[in-house]
């Protein structure tokens, strides 16, 4: 079908001089990307650097004609008008946001749009059998009949990959595949990509996690501000350090990924005792198990744990019982027991919870920055139930400047912002409510290195202003970098508490995997 000698040495993919404009924004300018057949090629760059746009050009989401430049697969020019065209050529993209139908089975999801059918009648036996084969290939031990809604996000990611494998795949594109996965699932996924390389499938992986890139990728192309900066060979003679990649991404060497801060820890502000919460549907299942923790004024406390450890569930159940059923335990604020049965009660006691899932729980994407920032404390800019719009806009403008939210005005819609800027809006919203305790759940998830630094600076400033801050994070270096004290959680229980001085990734991981080890369901 294609010339052998091209296959041997050549590039499976060449993208030349790709430019793509949105009104007022040049998303891609003259971008070049060359991917060799059989390699794992990483693409790095800050949010807004153009990585996803480039992949959308490649996969036909932006049809031919809406961009300039050439896309060549196996040396042949491609003019994709949609995803179906690119899939027909063996290009399959797995998006960051998983696209499984929750109430269909794994098998149905795998063959969705591509049903194993004769004459419009689905052959369920074939569907199940082939699904089972694919599941084995991706190392997922689940029945094909299990509903997608009933498996965790890590397993869902594997189903997506199985779905991709059900088609003809030459070039697999993974957009932030491990962003939502815990370390075990990530490791499994990366091993899978290695296997694919051996089987001759070329992969493009977009990732913020530099250690993963170092571990798996053969080469990395760095984008910045819509341009190709460089392509580095990670398997060459000279080792490429993470700092080297970061320098390419941000255009400057980061002196430190974490701003320095001298903590001044004050009195105890928040104490949680014996906190237990059960799963909202499966009410017998204990999700948070007799947890105890304290946070002091001016202190940044970390909460480490693997996916499913119950960190978010602990935070949300404390914050107005926003998660779970059959909740018991005691919350003390400044030593006084308080009730936090509704979100407004929790807010009135000075609690704030910035969610890990900005788009679903944090922001109203079709409202403006102004309206989002005032959302949790609208009363502060209202008199007699009437919003004082000018005051509100002034407040929003202040946070836009102070937090460096990159948007022309506070009237920009939250949905139009990049992840880092959305996170700053979420922070602004909660800081504006003037809480004493800020719970930040994965405050830097899906955010590029530069914006992370800015977020850390904001968090530090809040602690310096005497707030008690509780940071939930899956990135251990982040917790070690910014926290004064770190709790580790495993299977709903607080399993350890480590001061900054003694904390290492190893000790934390020890606590995070304590007790029953890996949960087998």
């Amino acid at each position: 079908m294609v010339l052998e000698n091209v296959l041997e040495t050549g590039n499976i993919l060449e993208m030349h001089s790709i430019s793509k404009e949105f009104p007022g924004v040049k998303a891609l300018q003259d971008v070049t990307l060359e991917v060799r057949r059989g390699e794992v090629h990483a693409i790095c760059g800050e949010n807004g650097a153009g990585k996803s746009t480039l992949m959308k050009v490649l996969s036909g989401v932006y049809p031919h004609g809406s961009y300039t430049g050439d896309v060549l697969l196996d040396g042949q020019a491609c003019e994709f008008r949609g995803i179906r065209d690119s899939e027909a050529r063996g290009v399959v993209i797995i998006h960051q946001e998983l696209a499984l139908v929750p109430f269909l089975s794994i098998a149905e999801n795998i063959f969705l749009g591509n049903e194993k059918a004769t004459g419009g009648v689905v052959d369920w036996n074939r569907t199940a059998a082939e699904a089972a084969q694919l599941l084995e290939r991706v190392g997922l031990a689940e029945s094909p009949a299990t509903l997608a809604a009933d498996i965790g996000v890590g397993k869902q990611q594997l189903v997506e990959i199985a779905k991709a494998l059900s088609k003809r795949v030459d070039l697999l594109i993974l957009d932030e595949p491990t962003a939502a996965l815990n370390d075990d699932d990530s490791a499994h996924l990366l091993a899978l990509i290695e296997q694919f390389r051996e089987a001759g499938i070329t992969s493009i992986i977009i990732s913020h996690k530099l250690n993963e890139i170092a571990a798996i990728a053969d080469r990395v192309t760095i984008l910045r501000d819509g341009r190709t900066i460089e392509t580095l060979d990670l398997r060459g003679d000279e080792p490429v350090s993470e700092d080297r990649i970061i320098r390419g991404m941000v255009g400057r060497a980061l002196e430190s990924r974490f701003p320095v801060r001298e903590p001044t820890v004050g009195a105890e502000v928040l104490r949680i005792e014996d906190w237990t919460a059960h799963h909202p549907v499966d009410t017998e299942r204990v999700v948070v198990d007799r947890a105890n923790l304290t946070v002091h004024a001016g202190e940044i406390v970390g909460l480490a744990g693997l996916m499913g450890a119950g960190r978010t569930e602990l935070a949300m159940s404390v914050f107005g019982h926003a998660y779970g059923t059959r909740i018991s335990g005691r919350v003390y604020k400044d030593g006084v027991p308080v009730r936090t049965r509704t979100v407004s009660e929790a807010i009135s006691h000075g609690l704030a919870y910035a969610t890990e899932d900005r788009k679903r729980y944090g922001l109203n994407l079709i409202q403006t920055i102004r309206e989002n920032i005032s959302a949790s404390a609208l009363g502060k800019v209202a008199r007699w139930g009437v919003v004082q719009r000018e005051e509100e806009a002034t407040v929003a403008e202040r946070y836009r400047r102070d937090f460096g939210i990159k948007a022309p005005t506070v009237e920009s819609l939250a949905g139009k912002l990049s992840g880092g800027n959305q996170q700053k809006v979420v922070l602004g919203k909660w800081v504006f409510s003037d809480p004493d305790v800020l719970i930040l759940d994965e405050p830097t998830r899906g955010i590029d290195v530069g914006a992370k630094y800015e977020i850390y600076s904001i968090v530090n400033a809040l602690a310096d202003a005497g707030k008690a801050v509780l940071v939930i994070s899956s990135e251990l270096p982040e917790l070690l970098g910014i926290c004064d004290r770190i709790y580790a959680m495993s299977q709903g229980r607080i399993t350890g508490e480590v001061a900054r001085a003694e904390a290492t990734q190893e000790t934390l991981m020890h606590y995070m995997t304590m007790d029953k080890g890996v949960i087998d369901r």
Partner: protein, 390 residues
């Protein structure tokens, strides 16, 4: 220049719908040889469509919050029938009957709001049930119709402001005053919001946009005032009622905490709840409010008909919902403005009137209105998709 373009870009939907209304008006003006805009027709356009506008005000809030209300037509018949009974059989003064009707409307809203907000039954189902229940109750109460309503009551929808100040030429002075007040109030309100924004050092819309906006508004109000001043009665009383409701509810939606909460829960209910918004209470309030506005529409309809009619208000819910969607309210919630819905209602009203003047068969009228609704929403979705692709 860029600022103007960006401002227009952000509000293109709003201006597009105004343009569509103007085009439709001009089209029918030509098709009917100028009869559409006979002064008396303009006055009856207002009187005939007041009920849609009142219902659409409430419906915008319901839809923005992510719900729907299918029951308002039946509630109009139920409350209207009850109102007629209060005046004829109970012999209550008509003003008392009207106020009691509003209370009954609120109770209807309490009933439906309870099921939606606190039991968690989807509004589609609750109000579908309400549609059946209240239609049934209306028939039980009224039979077919109850006539013999007092003249004061009937003049709510049929009467006009008295001609206190005489005429200038053929023009009713009271009407001219009302129009002038409208224009000045609009200009002043816009100006005040500009200066307030500037005082806080915030960016405001460009001066040119302000001038254009006020000029267009002044022109529109002026033209309508002129026609009304020429009409037989002058300013219809019901226009003042509708106008007051539009102003009051625009304020509620744009400026009040309650209004903001409606947009917040419609745009992202999870995020609103996690921000401390009591979504259940907001839902409940929206339905109580819808009940009251349905009662207002009931009073207007009953007054217009001069009788309580068990079969009144059929398809009113659909008129109101169509007005909202034509006016740019998002089917998925979170987006929608009263001004848009009012223009949507006017578009439907002008279509009705124009087609009637042209003696187009009622069946065809319905089909045409259906296509207009579809076209409006299709335009909305296609333009959004294009904007997203760019």
């Amino acid at each position: 220049m860029n600022a103007v373009r960006e401002y227009l870009g952000r509000n293109v939907r709003q201006y597009g719908i105004v343009a569509a209304l103007l085009v439709i008006v001009l089209l029918f003006q030509v098709l009917t040889d100028g009869r559409l805009l006979y002064p008396n027709n303009v006055a009856s356009l207002v009187q005939q469509n007041a009920y849609v506008m009142v219902l659409a005000i409430g419906m915008v809030m319901v839809i923005v919050a992510g719900h729907i209300d299918l029951s308002v037509g039946s509630v109009v018949a139920f409350v209207g029938g009850l109102c007629a009974i209060m005046m004829t059989q109970w012999e209550l003064p008509w003003l008392v009957a009207v106020l009691l009707s509003l209370v009954v409307g609120a109770l209807v809203g309490v009933w439906q709001g309870f099921w939606v907000a606190y039991v968690g039954i989807p509004a589609f189902i609750v109000t579908l049930a309400g549609m059946l229940v209240f239609r049934g109750l209306a028939i039980v109460l009224v039979g077919t119709s109850i006539a013999g309503l007092p003249g004061g009551f009937k003049s709510i929808s049929n009467g006009s402001l008295p001609n206190w100040f005489g005429f200038v030429g053929d023009l009713d002075v009271v009407t001219l005053c009302v129009g002038a007040i409208g224009i000045v109030a609009f200009a002043v309100a816009q100006w005040r919001s500009r200066t307030a924004l500037r005082k806080h050092g915030l960016s405001v819309e460009p001066m040119s946009a302000y001038v254009v906006k006020v000029s267009v508004a002044a022109l529109l109000i002026g033209v309508v005032t002129y026609w009304l001043a020429l009409s037989a009665g002058g300013t219809p009383i019901v226009l003042l009622i509708v106008g007051a409701l539009i102003i009051a509810y625009s304020f509620v939606l744009n400026r009040s905490v309650f209004g903001r909460h409606i947009y917040a829960i419609g745009g992202n209910r999870h995020a609103a709840v996690l921000s401390g918004v009591n979504a259940k209470r907001v839902d409940f309030g929206i339905f109580v409010n819808m009940g009251v506005l349905a009662a207002v529409a009931a009073v207007i309809t009953t007054s217009r008909a001069g009788a309580g009619v068990a079969g009144a208000g059929v398809n009113y819910e659909l008129d109101a919902i169509a007005a909202c969607f034509i006016g740019g309210t998002a089917v998925t919630g979170g987006v929608g403005r009263i001004s848009g819905a009012m223009i949507g209602a006017l578009i439907m009203g002008v279509l009705n009137m124009g087609l009637s003047i042209m003696a187009v068969d009622a069946a065809w009228q319905q089909a045409i209105k259906g296509l207009v609704l579809l076209a409006a929403v299709a335009f909305d979705i296609v333009s959004k998709r294009r904007a997203a692709l760019r």
